[in-house]
Symmetry: C3
Subunit: 624 residues, 3 copies
């Protein structure tokens, strides 16, 4: 597959007179895809039922006329003002009981059936007009589900829907009481309609109640998306996409992805570094203008899985953004490096956000490929360079990775509900495992818990996995379970059946408390105390003699949260690591990509790789 470049474009933000020149410059830059109409509902249907597609027809005509392939969007992330008059109760409600009002975006509750019907209606209207239009090569439904904490809503609509969801899941109220352990504090219900949403309680609500609500909330996103997907399936044969945002965990992306053809995501490495990464200040300072060296790759591998192999970067950071606490510019070369890294992980398209920086509204300080004055910004040059290099390199073919990592949204909900330690964060645990695998030179597949097989990998890591699927205990791969893996049921209880091996007890540790593991690193955050059987083999123990890694019945149990050094020790015990230092290596069928996120020269097998640069090898030779 030969990768392509794209761009996000908002014709409605600009004078029509500019559209043709814009299209010509896109093509000149080497761009082949253009995404449009994402937030344009107030221009497509300014008055309820009165559609004004003419301007969009014209824009499509100009863009396609220049040879660009169009991605059409349903504009449902931005319901227009009149929608609020029609459905004043469509707004989501926050944890304090306050409606989240009109005036920005994503102002809807996923449980509001009236708005869901309106969303289907606008999708149908667009599908009817453009579904068979050959200039439209793909469709995006809505945008960034869950951004701005919009999955969870405490509205009355959500409450009623949750009560129905409970009735369906548990059948009768006694079953629910037993499943949740409601006897604990006399919280027993006698009817489903007594169940409130789990907020505003005196102290924490029953965690089983909260987990059920999180599971329900995710299901509502899936159902909302499916309604639009079904409407579009009738209208078009083009592939359907949802564009996800990085580190959004409140809904199950695998569930949403099951109804779609391609997964795309938004890669903002510098914004993520300061806003969404758990890391030391020293680490953040080192990568301030580059982004974390694993955060993007992790998401690339995740969305390759969510998209069942087909995935894009829909929004690639092209310069400084506006939304992080601090917004420095990327170092020279980083826009190119990020683009190539996505390609190395299998992106079909890398699309920059956005064509020209808007001079108005919320994102006016968010860079585009052009400045508001229509002058090329630094990212433009690098995008054009990548386009030329793609032409030089040609097709790239992915292959099965060396190792696998299990990622499970419901596990995040479980530990968010019941963290037991203030900094027990599932995403951090999984990302740190991923980083260790990358430092060991492994390529990684990220798999859902529902994967049919985990066979054929050097090693499979499953840290913090709430429940252990049978497929994971029956694989030919080396499997490492823990910490905390398999210690709760789906109803967020401690398993009491004999079949579940469990630690004697678990401890959460404050940030400065580290427990030494000989000279091989430290236990941090979390430690379990297991009664290791005589038949088991302890591989690593801490200074106090507690087992940190042991083998039991052919599986490996990790009984603690390792720091970086201890992770490296552990992987060194399990596989033949090829440490990469500060470099990152991604291997495809025919190519090796070596990526340098640091700002200093690095050496790879005798080759010098400059700071913020990469190398591509094929058949043993450096071809870039």
């Amino acid at each position: 597959m030969i990768p392509e470049l794209g761009v996000c474009y908002y014709p409605e933000h600009w004078d029509e007179a500019m559209w043709a020149e814009d299209a010509a410059r896109m093509v000149e830059t080497g761009i082949t895809w253009v995404r449009i109409a994402e937030f344009a509902w107030s221009r497509l249907e300014p008055v309820p039922g009165h559609f004004t597609f003419e301007w969009l027809d014209k824009a499509i005509g100009i863009l396609a006329g220049h040879g660009l392939k169009v991605v059409m969007c349903t504009p449902t992330a931005t319901p227009p003002r009149w929608m609020i008059d029609r459905y004043p109760d469509m707004l989501a409600v926050d944890g304090a009981g306050q409606p989240r009002t009109f005036g920005s975006r994503r102002h809807y509750c996923f449980s509001h059936l009236g708005y869901r019907a309106e969303s289907v209606r606008i999708a149908q209207a667009l599908g009817e007009r453009y579904g068979r239009d050959p200039r439209i090569h793909a469709w995006q439904i809505d945008n960034e589900y869950g951004c701005h904490d919009t999955v969870i809503s405490y509205s009355d609509h959500a409450k009623t829907a949750f009560q129905g969801w409970c009735a369906q899941r548990y059948g009768d109220i006694k079953t629910l009481n037993t499943a949740w352990g409601n006897v604990f504090w006399s919280i027993e219900y006698t009817d489903f309609d007594q169940i409130a949403l789990p907020h505003l309680t005196v102290t924490q609500p029953n965690p089983a109640h909260e987990l059920a609500f999180r599971r329900f909330s995710s299901d509502q996103v899936t159902a909302y998306n499916r309604a639009q997907a079904q409407a579009l399936r009738h209208a078009t044969d083009a592939p359907l996409i949802h564009n996800y945002m990085g580190r959004i965990l409140e809904f199950d992306h695998f569930d949403v992805g099951a109804d779609l053809d391609i997964a795309s995501w938004d890669s903002y490495p510098i914004g993520f570094l300061s806003d969404r990464l758990d890391a030391s200040e020293a680490h953040k300072a080192k990568y301030l203008q580059q982004g974390d060296p694993d955060m993007q790759a992790f998401h690339h591998d995740l969305y390759r899985s969510v998209g069942k192999g087909r995935w894009w970067v829909m929004e690639q950071q092209p310069g400084p953004v506006n939304w992080a606490p601090y917004n420095p510019a990327p170092l020279e070369g980083m826009v190119r490096l990020w683009t190539w890294e996505a390609i190395a992980h299998g992106a079909e398209v890398v699309s920059y956000f956005r064509w020209r920086q808007a001079p108005f509204a919320q994102e006016q300080m968010h860079a585009g490929l052009l400045t508001p004055q229509n002058i090329p910004a630094p990212g433009m040059t690098e995008a054009a360079q990548v386009a030329r290099e793609i032409a030089q390199i040609g097709a790239i073919t992915q292959k099965k990775a060396d190792a696998a990592l299990v990622f499970d949204y419901a596990s995040d909900w479980s530990w968010t509900t019941l963290p037991q330690g203030a900094d027990f964060t599932y995403f951090r645990l999984v990302l740190e495992a991923y980083k260790a695998m990358r430092r060991a030179g492994l390529t990684v597949d990220i798999l859902p818990v529902t994967a049919r097989s985990f066979d054929g990998y050097d090693v499979v890591l499953a840290p913090g996995l709430a429940q252990i699927p049978d497929s994971l205990t029956q694989t030919d791969s080396k499997v490492v379970l823990g910490p905390r893996t398999g210690t709760v049921t789906e109803e967020l209880r401690i398993p009491t059946s004999d079949t579940s091996p469990l630690p004697q007890f678990s401890e959460s540790l404050p940030p400065d408390h580290k427990r030494s593991v000989q000279d091989a690193g430290h236990v941090v955050h979390w430690q379990e105390t297991w009664d290791v059987a005589d038949s088991d083999q302890t591989i690593i123990s801490d200074d106090a003699g507690k087992a940190v890694l042991f083998e039991s019945d052919g599986q490996f149990r990790l009984a603690a949260w390792p720091d970086e050094t201890l992770w490296d020790t552990i992987l060194g015990q399990l596989i033949a690591a090829k440490p990469t230092g500060d470099l990152r290596v991604r291997t495809t069928q025919d190519h090796i990509f070596v990526i340098n996120y640091t700002n200093e020269d690095q050496s790879y097998e005798g080759h010098k790789i400059k700071g913020c640069d990469l190398a591509i090898f094929k058949d043993g030779s450096r071809i870039l």
Copy 2:
């Protein structure tokens, strides 16, 4: 008195088939008391008016049949769901005006008379059935008043009750205006029904208003408790207990205790260390898995006073808990050490929370003596050891302490209302004084401001006491007043009568600002400038020449908040200190208990005391 051990048990959480074995194992462990029915309202009265005592009868039968003495509880901390249908307005309201809803526990406003009547009704129903039952040896009313910030409620019921309380206290509205100084910002009222609750104001409300509301809120807890106590007095001759939680200051425990026979409290040393202690990070790291060496003793001495000599630990931490920010396990030996320390301070019973760890609901990560899999947890072994040691040691008799410390809830309310410095915390001030007394080798009685006499002590400390009672100025003990002692009236005004000696001015100091007192320590947090009369004797001055400790009319005035070193200097000036280093010493009639909270060996008069261990001496010999 020979101390005994107990345990908290929730038969309704477990299959009836397990009860008999549980009872047998309790007895085997050396436990003699068992507390039940604490949160069982939904099982005792699943439908309003329809009682189902049969299961409880059976549980009592099995427990008592094994020789266990039962503590029966009124389950009013957990009103069942149907109660909310009956009284939707019974919920407490938080400072933002939001009702605190059903779904956890303690979801009631102390001012709601409907719920108060229901509480009396269930207490009467239990009293009727079990009040004369010889198997029931004590009664607990409700549980942990004030836990989860539940004393203060801004409900309409609280508002109406507060207006009535004001009318009763002040008689007419002009008296109230004058008492509060409402002329200050034109806040004068013309009728009691104009008085709102002191929240949601533009800037701080009148502190006199806020203090009155805090005093009222405490009175409501007392009245609520008294209603249940009166109901039970008619039904039983067994002693009545309330079980208090550590460092709850929003109601006057002495007031509640006056209506009861025994005070019990919940000792969670490791949870308290991270969650409720003002201390340096270094101190918290040193005692991470042991708890602070004075926090428990302080509460033991406090509740001995609240219980007029009779007190228990009702819930003793047996392993890791679930509710602190981080929850490490106790070091080996600490469960035994905590138990013995409570006994040294006079506990009649030390009762572990809980028998078996629940595998469900909010506290599923809170250790019990047994794991959810019914396997003994480490705490079980230590409890059994204590039981054997008690049998060996025999009776222990308390005696009057060397020194006294005055503790006054209303003083906390005064300084919380009018702190003047962001970190002026009454509890911290008092606890630091207590620590200094313990480092000096003193045993301590904690006394309320209403104590009839403060005579017969080597020294009496009264730091931060809002008003000075006459009994404190007329004692034969050395009395140390200050800092801040006697500087406000009961209406939270500066006294202007000639009889009140006052500093010229007071200063609050930011955390990093320390003022040197020669080589004897530093002033921190707070300093007063006094016009020391020629007839007074200045004992300690700071480097700038200001009096820090001086004697006036036979009383000692402490004009600053001392750091640890300065406290030691001050006590060294006043009494013959016997410094104990990191050890803590408690002397009873015949025994000396020496307790080592550190994790290293310590030496006491030539005896080695291991880390996390204690020694007991009798007649000059070490007997443990």
Copy 3:
């Protein structure tokens, strides 16, 4: 002009029997002005329409009888309780939608026309009675507009008024949509009555919407003040004053000042240091008991401008205050120093707050010149000393300053709305520029953006100025623009016309990220990248070669936020600096004032100036 001293007095707080002695002691101290009636509404009109002026007549009689000049206040900052019965909806509403209730002060919404009418009514009543009374020498309207965040209100009255304000500003809704760029996220309105206030949105509202609301909110304060000013103009010829609080930025003081005769403000140096200053901990420790050495001077220069040359300090800190997080006492000499510094900057009157410390209500821990026991506090002695020194020094005449600094409230609103970096604070930026000018020995005039001319200065700094007025580009002074100056329009958009020079891109930098500028300091917080033309002259570049200061078309462009060292370098390039070290120098027509805020001796041209002391020079000789 010979400066005078004043005091704030609340006769209604004290027994009438004390008034005469108070007046006599004021005169004895050297005080000539007394401000009264500020918060006395409940005593002036205890029942609606029923006035009780008799006590006030008597107080005026006694004060004036002793020769004191009276400042009469309208008491509208403290509406009495009955006003809330009349207008329950007059309360302001906070950002969470919660009304801000009665019980402290400033509990009104500036948009409530009923309360505005009541304010005019009480002003008229006072004016009628005292407007022509020769004992009343000045009038203060209300007090401290904006204190306790009271400018912004999200009430329904504000919403309706804002919709009307928008209709007036934009004429038709399409113009508004275009101005704000509402197409961006389909936020387009079809009617003005659809416009909500910009809060409670899912993510940030349109910044143009928020800026318009901030501009409107400021206009409401101006209109409210003007209504009272007009009422009083009919009644009196005495000068009208509003008394501003330090670092209140939510309304345009120049706009309010335009309707008045004298600007006064409240100088609380130690409170401001800990509560309202962005500075390092080391700096705050150094000046803990003195206050920041430039914060007061900045406000003096600002209010000289707001008052069109006539200004007072209405409330001068006399000892410890009560409202900062920590409240240490001023070092000896500081009350005198602060008073003299105000005089050096041109204060007509410096008035202490307050005469006697109140023993009750919110401010009972706020020092006065007398203690609550009626004993002179340390500030009293220093005030009396200043009075004697004034008599010795005689008249002081101001002159035009060396340099000017542009200060613009709307710029603060712009960057508060659109900070782009979490610590981009306009006030901090401007104050740091002011500090640099003072360190360089310059006297400074602070000018509004509407100043007719910026001519005649050595240098004019305009950091962070949102738009550049023509007068600033056409002056004969050296002008320094930037950082960020002129980068947004009045509608908070990026200018896209060719006439606006703009950086290629801008970066916000996290606090620990500093970019070296050779050996001349560092760039912090913010850096712009400009395409410097060949015809421009780069004066200072950073280590990476980026222009930090360059000249273009005769103007200087500062492309970064300088640290202290870099500011000194920059000013050193532009003017002949006379560095003053830790001293501060203020030059008037005939005098040089040299002020030492440190606690150590300093040297000035061979003269020793003690810590917390000042020197005054005239004709080359030290006269104080």
